[in-house]
Symmetry: C2
Subunit: 450 residues, 2 copies
């Protein structure tokens, strides 16, 4: 029986632990931080996340979907706030689908509690991975007291996040390609507290966006009636985190830019200076494995910027894909990790690119009437011809189409919609049959090329 090591007790590490325990393996999970359930910690950065179909599928395979649904708040639409505080809406799905706001901390706790029901899973906290001895298959840890330790593994899953220590070691393996790129924008979390009666101050079935072209603020609802806001904003320059140096400047900036949010955030200036400024990094690498022994999963394999709400979903999908491959192989490990990497790494690259593109969409295009019209046309066509068109956003968020294929589909759709939008009468004809026929014609033309 193979000994499974997992580095990282975060979302993906804990889910993969459950998946492997279900197959009967002895699983040891090693975590650099203390047990977040004891410390009251919630494990790092973003405190709520958007969960969608890919994530739920993996959770369902692990048998925890229902428990998670209970703490998840559906968001059916984007709610855009303009400079005057006027609201407009854009549905996420064509058939009333939603993405779900969940607390990262609570989700992680549930997964860990669930994992600990399995007698063949053990958690080991305060273990900092310093190195991996790839030849002898041992993880090297530093303990809290400074003592050092080696733990053997047969198969190792590195689920240790965007700053993965295991991946650092892999970077020294020949033919390991690695790329980390930061945005010149960073982020800061702010809070819209609940009303005194515990209700939300804004509609809680939306993801709120204040699109401002070069930057934006968003807000996701929490179960306790609050919203977590995130300001995405340049790190340096005339209008930037670096230039907002005083309370006066912050308040003046918000008055000018997000006026309708000010009454909702009594602690705005305090939060702004108390909360750290986060950085936004994209990681692409390949292959994801060393020999057939060590495999990167989740952010360790593909850290993405948060603008598609797919970071966690992509990580959970890694667990699904590994599970499916394992079943296909009938539990035979030979080449399993190699095949996983070969089959799946391009999807990691694809979601990284999609997430980067979506920043432009969220901060800029959601305030652009032509973009919103495009979406309406696409949605209408999808409803009329459901087998022929699934908008890119739906394909990424509400389907299980590999991300890499979604990119190809999206490119074709963009080409078609670019042509549709050249019709000077499109604003009058957008929901007429003639427009739907034109899309059908262009689709057939595209397919004849393929």
């Amino acid at each position: 029986m193979k000994k499974i090591g997992i580095v990282g007790a975060g979302l993906v590490g804990s889910l993969q632990a459950i998946m492997m325990a279900k197959k009967g393996y002895e699983v040891q999970v090693f975590e650099r931080r203390p047990d977040l359930r004891k410390a009251g910690e919630i494990g790092g950065r973003s405190i709520n996340l958007a969960l969608s179909d890919r994530g739920f599928k993996a959770l369902s395979l692990a048998g925890v979907e229902q428990k998670i649904r209970e703490i998840a708040l559906p968001m059916y639409r984007r709610c855009m706030h303009d400079l005057e505080g006027n609201l407009s809406y854009q549905p996420y799905g064509v058939n009333n689908e939603a993405i779900y706001s969940v607390s990262r901390g609570r989700l992680n706790q549930i997964l860990m509690n669930e994992a600990e029901h399995y007698p063949n899973i053990s958690y080991h906290f305060n273990k900092t991975t310093t190195d991996v001895d790839l030849r002898n298959k041992e993880i090297l840890f530093k303990n809290e007291d400074g003592s050092r330790e080696r733990v053997a593994y047969d198969k190792l899953f590195a689920c240790d996040g965007a700053y993965s220590a295991v991946r650092s070691r892999m970077q020294k393996v020949p033919q390991f390609n690695y790329n980390q790129q930061y945005l010149t924008h960073g982020y800061k979390e702010l809070e819209i507290p609940a009303n005194p009666d515990g209700t939300h101050q804004m509609a809680n079935d939306c993801l709120h966006i204040w699109p401002r072209g070069e930057f934006m603020m968003i807000a996701l609802p929490n179960l306790d009636g609050s919203f977590t806001c995130t300001l995405f904003f340049p790190l340096e320059g005339e209008m930037s985190f670096a230039s907002l140096t005083t309370e006066e400047k912050v308040m003046a900036f918000f008055e000018r830019t997000f006026a309708d949010s000010i009454p909702l955030m009594p602690e705005l200036a305090k939060d702004f200076f108390d909360n750290p400024t986060g950085h936004l990094m994209t990681v692409k690498c390949s292959p994801w494995q060393v020999e057939d022994d060590v495999l990167l999963m989740g952010d360790a394999a593909h850290a993405v910027v948060p603008f598609y709400g797919q970071g966690m979903n992509a990580g959970f999908e890694d667990c699904t894909v590994f599970h499916e491959l394992y079943e296909e192989n009938k539990g035979e490990w030979t080449n399993l990790m190699v095949d996983f990497s070969d089959r799946h790494y391009k999807n990691g690259h694809a979601i990284a690119d999609l997430a980067l593109d979506n920043y432009i969409e969220m901060r800029d295009k959601t305030a652009d009437p032509d973009f919103l019209l495009r979406k309406k046309i696409e949605n209408k066509f999808t409803r009329l011809h459901p087998g022929k068109w699934l908008p890119l956003y739906s394909c990424v968020t509400f389907s299980h189409t590999p991300y890499n294929e979604a990119v190809t589909i999206g490119r074709k759709q963009k080409k078609i919609m670019d042509e549709v939008m050249t019709n000077p009468q499109i604003h009058d004809l957008w929901d007429e049959e003639v427009t739907m026929q034109e899309i059908l014609r262009l689709l057939e033309k595209e397919q004849s090329y393929a």
Copy 2:
């Protein structure tokens, strides 16, 4: 007086040590390996290198140019070997310029000996950098006996090569962008020994190339009458290092592909299996500095594949650029490293791209008559209108134009030559005035866009 730390006693580290000692600083150089002068080692991979104008300029600033010229063999031309062993030639320069074959080991020895003439330079060997404490400005070393040590610096130059330990530490600094990409081809060094009388078996004023489309072999002359050959070849696949598993297969492959080299290499099969297969990595990163304290130079900042013969030259040019910036700043350190990075990192990216492109040129295009005709046309035009055109290769190799500008110039030239080559009579008219006039016309057209 600032304490200068340099990590890496290789070519760039030793040259930068001399440069800084000349300015009067206390310089400590730390090297992971033992002293190569004592061990008889020659410090890693490629045992000869091509030195050209950028390298000589830096060596001249350091006062060691003459000593290096004495051990350098000029190569004026590419000598192409076809499948039948027929030779053809292509000059490197327009005015009989040469690139110079030098031994990496001897070059390094001379630089180290020269450095040790300065009482304010000290070398410290067998010091493995394990980390850098960026806040307290200390380098953390592991000694040969396993003991650990911290050494303080005021300014740190990281000249520790393609697998830089300092850069590994910098990767954890927010906003540090980093990219390492391997070719799917690797390399193996082979030897053509000297004749019994110590003369060379082939012309020693050429860089020899066996261009074979998808791969190639090259040979550079050494002072002792030998040549160092390097086979650049796919790592995996039907025709690859992985597939050449027996002496028979190797010999059959060479018979088929490099027949004229076989009589020159009596130890071919032995060398092939004794010598390791090397990997080819490109590193691009930015910024090159942390605060104003730590600066990457040479391969640590920009590891490039060897196909433009510019790796060492680019590293030496870093020393020139730093020196020039220091002089401009009149010895004032404030912002010096930041300015260096801002001004120069794009040149590192540019030479990395140029080197990748040149693999195609060397292995494929040097066997293509149209490509060779292009070069002849360009050379003729350059001779007629020296101020108006410097071929890209010359611009990179025989000028001090920043690499990034060379790329822009090269792109314009390619566009013009693409158009010139569309003339169906070009093979007859290539050295006629009408062709020269056409280039002049296209050049003016290009300039009017600019």
